[in-house]
Point group: D2
Chain length 357, copies 4
């Protein structure tokens, strides 16, 4: 990289993921935030939308049509699914797109239609797309123009499960993922169930058996299991039980995975596979035996902590994985992918340690 | 009952469960709190230990030796296990004992020793004991002198599972219980991990594969499954996976149960069994399909809400059960058992609706 | 009272104050909730709006026009100001109205217009109105048909200040009230600043110098000071500084009052005046010297705790007053007034002790 | 600075302020943490004490006697008062000391003795000391060997008040400071009142009229008012009312200052004085009129936000100041002073924007 800055536009800057990308981007030495698109807030100062960014020297928010994309090297997309692909498909081809939406995560457009309730109109772009789980798709991310950053839950789940599936140490027919998330996962839109009074002192499951991150986890596990050999494997080969719950905290995601060791495989084998996958990874860490990971220990950072435990039942393996849903689960992984895409050191702008307490 | 009050002593009045029993007992029309034992606080006014009880007209806290048990009809025991049995074994036989400790829950003393790390010195008292899950042991409770109130997690778990096991609608070889609790479950003792700053914005599992409530759940499921016919069945016949997690809230407990329908059994069968078990129960409620129970909707009350859901995986049944750990999980169920024991209306003193928000 | 129930309709049942009145009313031995009006939720079951009331046997929510007010003895009004007076003015005269809105609190209609931004169209009703600060207006409440329940902040402030003003122990020209409230004070309407993620880990002032509860406090202090002798004294005689802040908790209100002792008056005089005012009061309590009241010690109850402290500065008196904003600050005081109005024991239905933790 | 790292030892590394200094120091380009002293944790890995620092490459904790101070350029002291001066007085004179304790804040040793309950045994060191409020003592800090970092409350208070006192726009005889802090201000020691269950849903004042930060604020205001011309002015010239409160959140501090404009001074004058003081300051910001600062908008950062408001009462000025108590109130300001001391860019290692939500 020359000293020349990478001119970056955030589309969907007023949501929590857009806001968190701004927080990380301001001290990033190579990113110049040249445009902040937030249609409903066009014309407002950033501080009017995000008071915690008052001290950053950022341009006002604008409408999409105010951006000249000729002067832009990269787009960070923080839009809802649907809108995301509609806009991404219109961007000039010289622009690298880091998409935090769900639009290009599912490679099978029928699955997309089934779970997201609308047709996928831009299947033709898939040749330029890489799934954006940084640790497992580095080469593909480098080669792609559009990076489909994983969902927050799939990130936490796959960082824990892929090493085990790839090493063939767990059975794939009885995977139960009990997940929890802080309230920021529901976004900044006004909903009764995310009001302070409704959430505080409250814990409840939601979307039981129907959460949209399920097929994404299944797709990636199936690809890893290499059951089909096809590049566009759909869901179905591996099916998981995935139940998310809402917790009275702002940030954090934790998945408790109930797994079964494959016949002839030991806990030590599983731990060794995970340890190997974590070697050299700057952001994924296997904690020692007996240590239980907690969301408070990754808050605000791009780190993922993974713990492995023997269950009381024979051959059971319980794996716990935790991330900050807005960072490693969204804006941080987007920046990690940005760094990979532009050939920067992968940790640039992500050196912050977790904020505790 | 005549108008004569029931003279009741709380031993272990300074813990959260003792405190919550006081809160419920003051407006109870038949209970006269004649003694509040808290050795380390002997001589203090209740308001110095529990400022929220300042407005109640309660006697000062005293040491155990200050109590004349001849003038006492009932003892509520809020002591830690071990100490509880040591003291209960010395009480005069005319006293009804409602024990909130773990000491008389496990009917097999070897299991007790294995999980609680000390010998059970009072197995001879078991003839006078009933397990105190009110809804499933009413007759036994009436006949007993000592009521072993269930643990908080077993209460939430068993209210959800026993109707299904008794009706033989679920498989008993793959029961996974993912549980969470508010911080009050850890008691009022000083521990670093229950400090506000350590817990806030934090979610983490603990005691994976080793929580002491596991054998209690297994014992009761095994008895319900009637696999042995023995009155002192141990653990082992039914084994469960039980993983508790700590949530940044004070009260509330919720268990997400991952179950499998028995061959030839439908979701409707399971729902019918649960519905039947809830009929006429004042405190246990099956919520309609599509409704997800949450801890904030039972807070401060003796109620239990149960939801039943189809998983995405074939034959899977997901059951969610929630209670207030200090009320139905402890002091409230103790009062419910007190009412049963003394022939009072079971809901006396427990008419409070949940406090929301 | 005969055994005959008091047929009570709640108008505005879907807000937090309406919801909390329901919680308290269900176990009240004399109240029969015969109608629950919530226009935007008409036709819904209560459990669909307030899941924590699922176990109560309540009628469905209806629209205003569905109520036959001939069959109604009392109306609890939980509407926003403006709408409240529009509807109350249409109710038949045999109905006792307990109004939790701001519409009949300010006796000077010009002040009302100035602070609430609309004309007061029902000044003619003032003959039937009593201000509803129970402890200080018992006779007036008994004689009135419409009870204007105080705002939550004025309740906490006036219970602390009125005894001191009436006893002429404090200067009235430099009263500074630093107030805080839990988030439920902002109601259940959808606003960005009451989302969990916006409020959690956040503390900030709002409405500095402009909060609508200011003239209400000033009116009552002025009346107590008896500076005018007029029954319709406006604001102006006594002016206060009132600054509210939002705290990341659901319930609770606390006011730190910075006062100056009048020349020739001692701290003991002030404490004696307060002690006298609290004598015999079931819900207002002066805590001993050295004890600091906290919101967590009144939560869910109708109690008010008051603490008195010497400041470091000469002649300074710091008084701290705390209530649950939804109970003593709204629904509980409404019930207390209901009891006064109908000649019931004042504590009926309000016997619950605070919920801690 | 050459590329040579500054070898830095933290004494008192296991407290929250020590922990937060580590969090900030790891990415700091000039700091090499060569020793972490925590006597009660000597021998432990940092991750065993602070799991959120697991991913940092830090040395194990050691006892004080294990440190060779010859190889050390700087000491960060995170000890309690008393112990701090005992140890600082033994350090070799080539070491720069950034002291986060209270031991060298009060220049009058009698005042120290009066408020801290022990003699000040190291008054001789005061020649080498500068008070460490970075924005107001830059030259003194550069010249000193020991930097007495201000208390968290004094930092928030003085950043708001000093510009007004220096510009002579406010009266100094009636300053009321209503302060709040998150729970981390109480430290990591085990105390009942900082348990999650005791603090959650709770707000209460503490140390009314007797908080140790009071004389520190008074000293600095008095020096600014230049009433004595003496370098060792004590308290007394300016007296303030200071009342802290505890809020259920981990981080954050906010002070609502009730002030009176001096005769002949306007709100515009006051705002101009503050604006001028903030000019060029990287961390102190006056927010626009109408904007209310909140703790959630500075969390995790070294920034201070100040808002100025007209009260309803004539000539009243209400100033609101907010910081993160562990950062600008402690570890962050320590690092800012470290940078000043060693001639580094003042913002080095402090570029992180606030973490919101």
């Amino acid at each position: 990289m020359t000293a020349k800055q990478i001119r970056t536009v955030i589309i969907g800057a007023s949501g929590y993921t857009g806001g968190d990308f701004m927080r990380l981007a301001v001290p990033h030495p190579q990113i110049e935030l040249t445009g902040l698109v937030a249609n409903t807030h066009a014309g407002k100062a950033v501080a009017d939308v995000y008071p915690h960014l008052r001290m950053a020297n950022l341009p006002d928010m604008v409408a999409l049509e105010d951006i000249n994309f000729d002067d832009c090297d990269a787009v960070i997309c923080g839009l809802p699914h649907g809108t995301a692909q509609d806009i991404i498909s219109t961007l000039p081809k010289h622009i690298k797109v880091i998409d935090m939406s769900a639009d290009f995560r599912l490679r099978d457009t029928k699955t997309y239609e089934q779970w997201y309730g609308r047709a996928h109109d831009n299947a033709n772009l898939y040749d330029e797309v890489s799934y954006g789980l940084s640790e497992h798709y580095r080469n593909e991310i480098k080669a792609a123009r559009i990076i489909a950053c994983p969902g927050c839950y799939p990130t936490a789940a796959l960082l824990a499960l892929l090493p085990l599936v790839k090493a063939s140490v767990i059975a794939t027919d009885n995977i139960i993922l009990n997940a929890i998330s802080g309230v920021s996962g529901a976004g900044r839109a006004l909903k009764q169930n995310t009001l302070f009074c409704e959430t505080s002192e409250g814990f409840s499951p939601y979307a039981i058996g129907s959460h949209r991150h399920t097929p994404e986890i299944e797709q990636e596990l199936s690809r890893a299991a290499d059951k089909s050999g096809s590049d566009t494997i759909g869901i179905g080969e591996i099916e998981v039980t995935f139940t998310p719950h809402l917790v009275p905290m702002s940030r954090g995601e934790l998945i408790t995975c109930y797994l079964t060791l494959k016949e002839g495989t030991s806990h030590d084998d599983a731990r060794a596979a995970m340890q190997k996958a974590c070697e050299g990874e700057p952001f994924v860490h296997l904690v020692p035996e007996g240590v239980t990971p907690g969301t408070q220990h990754v808050r605000g950072s791009n780190h993922c902590l993974i713990g492995m435990f023997k269950g009381k039942v024979k051959n059971q393996l319980i794996v716990v994985s935790t991330i900050d849903n807005l960072v490693k689960g969204s804006a941080g992984q987007a920046m990690q992918n940005f760094n990979i895409t532009f050939g920067l050191k992968e940790t640039t702008g992500l050196e912050q340690l977790p904020l505790f307490p």
